[in-house]
């Protein structure tokens, strides 16, 4: 009913896209390389008197070896347990005293630490963070307590969480040789057998200025902050890093399937296809962009294809999610996950997913669907600038997987050039059984179930 109006609006949005979407980022962002190999990226944003300070190490669970899975994340915990100068727990107390918020996180690709502070406190947190880049010093007793905490974290997030168990099995099935097959938190048995020295070895191997990128966003003067960064981080000595083996996953030769039985009520189904990612130096490869847009065409808004057909029309699934990350250090999956509707089976859910994909492969997608997604991408470029922390996150994740922050705008521009035919082409080429892994959660009743009360 409002289609004319809508079309006029799209065109307007799409005619003037990048002038308002990507403005200013390059001018406000400053990159330097210290002589010890540490990279600094500063994003100026003077809207409020706050800053985010992050240090990113290119060492994640994909750099671990068998028997020591989870060590990247365990070390992340141990980084709060003291240095030669700062006692255990003191780091957090000092950050708290200046009003800071802090935390850290580990992924398959990297480990990152951050503090958010009022701008006059930035020097203090830089000093603290630079100190633990090379002076970490924890005792065995601290390790023994903290490894218990990490096991509690695994129990909370994985052991008692059927969705996580399913995902863990999916990854371990999809990949044979890639270290992406291991969970970031590590296998429980590896955690039980981890020693303080495993964490120390990890630290000695990977924590070095030449394996780190510092990202600072917010209300800062870039020249001034470079001096502070040089003073503190500049003092840390460079190290030779361990050799990283490529560990390229061999091509998959047919469907793989795995089943997980765990306490739950709804059956879940995950279908994951091996797909390419965007490679550094090959920014013009259209396929990753097309896959990213395909994700949104299937699941990017409330009336996107899978939600519309599977949830609302066929009522065969209760929820649907589609994910794909075009940038990462390791191999990528195009993942569709659903939970079955009451009275429907995973077989029915799978048939419906396959129908929806067949339809797309045969008939392609509408120009209007793709435009809708592109408008969303453009408006998100404005919205993301509301968060100072979010800007530092975007720069850090991009840098860690081998791209430059300077590529971000180019990647987004490139996305706008993708055609419906290119989206259809990647669906046809990659969403095929040869590279498919299927994981099914078969729900089990709990032994002791007191949960049905109150109905």
């Amino acid at each position: 009913m409002r289609s004319n109006l809508l079309r006029i609006c799209f065109l307007f949005l799409l005619c003037t896209p990048l002038s308002w979407a990507a403005s200013g980022d390059s001018a406000d962002t400053h990159e330097s390389l210290l002589s010890n190999g540490l990279k600094l990226i500063v994003r100026e944003d003077h809207r409020a008197p706050t800053v985010a300070h992050m240090v990113w190490y290119r060492a994640g669970s994909m750099d671990e070896v068998n028997g020591r899975t989870g060590v990247a994340h365990v070390l992340e915990h141990m980084m709060f347990k003291g240095t030669h100068k700062v006692k255990s727990g003191e780091f957090s107390r000092l950050v708290a005293a200046v009003g800071g918020r802090e935390n850290a996180f580990t992924s398959r690709d990297y480990t990152a630490y951050f503090q958010q502070v009022e701008k006059s406190k930035l020097d203090e947190v830089i000093k603290l963070e630079a100190d633990r880049m090379s002076n970490l010093n924890f005792d065995d007793a601290e390790f023994l307590k903290e490894i218990q905490v990490v096991m509690e974290e695994r129990r909370l997030r994985t052991e008692d969480n059927p969705g996580s168990l399913l995902n863990e099995s999916l990854m371990a099935t999809a990949y044979i040789s890639s270290p992406y097959r291991h969970p970031v938190v590590g296998w429980m048995n590896d955690l039980q057998n981890m020693k303080a020295d495993d964490a120390r070895d990890w630290y000695r191997s990977w924590y070095a200025p030449n394996n780190a990128t510092v990202v600072i966003s917010g209300d800062v003067n870039p020249q001034q902050i470079l001096k502070v960064v040089e003073k503190y981080y500049g003092a840390v000595a460079m190290k030779e890093l361990p050799v990283r083996k490529p560990q390229i996953e061999p091509p998959q030769k047919g469907i793989k399937q795995v089943q997980v039985r765990a306490p739950a009520d709804s059956a879940q189904l995950a279908m994951a296809w091996k797909v390419p990612r965007l490679e550094p130096g090959k920014l013009d490869d259209p396929e990753p962009y097309a896959l990213e847009l395909l994700t949104a065409v299937l699941d990017g808004y409330d009336n996107a294809r899978l939600n519309r057909t599977l949830v609302k029309q066929e009522k065969v699934v209760n929820d649907v999610g589609v994910s794909y990350d075009m940038i990462s250090r390791g191999p990528e999956l195009f993942l569709i996950s659903v939970s079955a509707a009451k009275g429907k089976t995973v077989a029915q859910a799978q048939a419906s997913i396959r129908n929806a994909l067949e339809d797309l492969k045969k008939k392609g997608i509408l120009e209007s669907e793709l435009k809708r997604i592109k408008v969303r991408i453009l408006s998100d470029q404005i919205y993301k600038r509301d968060s100072i922390f979010g800007q530092a996150m975007e720069i850090g994740t991009t840098e860690m997987v081998g791209f430059s922050w300077k590529d971000i705008d180019y990647i987004l521009e490139k996305m706008q050039t993708i055609t419906p035919a290119q989206v259809q082409a990647v669906a046809k080429k990659y969403l095929v059984d040869e590279g498919l892994t299927i994981a099914v959660l078969d729900p089990q009743a709990r032994k002791s179930e007191a949960s049905k009360e109150g109905k």
Partner: protein
């Protein structure tokens, strides 16, 4: 930068930790429209605007036996509306939101339903997003077929949730604290099944009235434009209606013997989940600041709280442990919680209880108080450093009837808190012999 320049009020912070003075953006009260209230903070740096409508139509108004109704009334607003040009289907609404590059979200808490719009501030886009939201607020269709579909989805989600330790714990804890107060009953399969499309329409008519709504706006619009937004949003909504029965008072958690306050739920999970708490205060209570500062020391201060030190740092018993006050317009609650390996439940509960008990009796030490104030005051800029956080603040100030200069005087109020006030407030509102305790999945060896 422009945003800061536009600010009139400059707040000089006298507390010793601050080196710099900076401006806190003022909240402007908008023209009253049809009995509603409206507030605006202008920030011009980004071409975007965030708009929130709070509706006094939270879960506490769920009729007996129909828990989940308030959630559905808000959650189904975007599944069909009667617009000025006829019916707009759920698909058309979703497409329109996507085409505008806007976000519209709906949520419901115990006290209020919330509709939020994030849009680019360009007038044509913004106008359409606001018009669409206005139709959702005032003219949802609640078509029977869609209501049935969504009920089934909610029921499926509830059945799944009932297999999760955190959900089962939370439901039981809520019942334990709120008792027969309307918030004590959370949605169940039965209560959701009892809701009909007619119930939705009726609830909407009864509670979605402009005199029960507050609009908060943050972003790149001026006062005149903001007034226009409020008027467009509320234009088609009736101003008032039949009187709504007053809710009962939430009774303070009574002194009870442990056996009556503590509930053990058998549950076959690897971890036991533990919650402890009682009724507490409203946000407008003058003791809010002593409780806020004190709770930072007890269990609010991330890695440096006493609960964190005792449970995690010293004993490695849990990954996360914390405590908080959740004050609202009405009396809210205090709650502490943790998860631990199921055979450690008794020990972890003991550590948590004794830590809280000791804090109520002795209060913080002078250095703990100083550290808490230092964190809260120095960290205040982080609570208001983007549009979304500003909207959270404006919305809370408006909903809780707080003074419009709340953001300007916040750090002063923290600074003024004394050791005696913290101790007195904790002793006045909390008591170990009133604490409800729920332990799920403990395995006693």
């Amino acid at each position: 930068m422009n945003a800061l320049k536009n600010s009139i009020l400059v707040c000089l912070i006298t507390f010793g930790y601050f080196a710099t003075a900076h401006a806190i953006l003022p909240i402007e009260k908008l023209d009253s429209f049809k009995g509603s209230k409206g507030y605006l903070v202008q920030t011009k740096a980004l071409p975007m605007v965030d708009i929130e409508v709070s509706i006094d139509a939270g879960d506490r108004f769920d009729p007996s036996g129909k828990s989940g109704l308030a959630d559905m009334v808000a959650g189904l607003m975007n599944y069909g509306v009667k617009g000025d040009q006829g019916i707009l289907s759920e698909a058309q609404i979703a497409d329109e939101i996507a085409d505008l590059g806007a976000n519209i979200s709906l949520s419901v808490s115990g006290e209020r339903a919330i509709l939020r719009i994030r849009s680019l501030s360009r007038k044509d886009l913004r106008d359409r997003a606001v018009k669409l939201a206005a139709a959702m607020l005032s003219l949802p269709t609640y078509e029977a077929k869609i209501v049935e579909r969504e009920k089934q989805r909610i029921i499926t989600n509830l059945l799944e949730a009932e297999t999760k330790p955190e959900f089962v714990l939370e439901r039981r804890f809520t019942k334990s604290i709120y008792g027969n107060y309307p918030l004590g009953n959370t949605p169940t399969v039965k209560s959701v099944a009892a809701v009909s499309a007619k119930d939705l329409i009726q609830f909407h008519q009864q509670f979605y009235r402009s005199d029960r709504m507050i609009v908060s706006i943050v972003g790149d619009v001026d006062r005149a434009q903001a007034n226009e937004i409020v008027q467009t949003l509320l234009q088609m909504i009736p101003q008032s209606g039949n009187p709504i029965a007053k809710l009962p008072e939430l009774q303070r958690s009574p002194v009870e013997p442990l056996g009556q306050r503590e509930i053990q739920i058998p549950f076959d999970s690897q971890q036991a989940h533990i919650a402890m708490g009682m009724t507490a205060v409203t946000r407008s209570n003058p003791d809010y600041f002593p409780l806020l500062v004190g709770n930072y020391v007890l269990g609010g201060g991330g890695f440096v709280s006493r609960l964190m030190a005792e449970v995690r740092e010293k004993r490695g018993l849990a990954y996360s442990v914390s405590s908080y006050f959740a004050p609202g317009k009405d009396t809210g609650i205090f709650k502490a919680g943790l998860q631990t390996k199921s055979d450690q439940a008794a020990m972890a509960l003991e550590v948590m209880s004794s830590t809280i008990a000791k804090f109520i009796t002795d209060g913080p030490t002078p250095s703990e108080l100083l550290a808490a104030k230092s964190n809260l005051i120095n960290g205040y800029p982080l609570r208001i450093d983007n549009n979304r956080k500003l909207l959270d603040n404006v919305s809370s100030i408006a909903w809780n009837d707080l003074p419009l200069d709340t953001m300007e005087i916040w750090t002063k109020q923290v600074e003024a808190v004394t050791l005696e006030q913290v101790s007195a407030a904790f002793q006045k509102y909390l008591a170990m012999d009133r604490m409800k305790i729920v332990v799920l999945g403990a395995q006693n060896k």
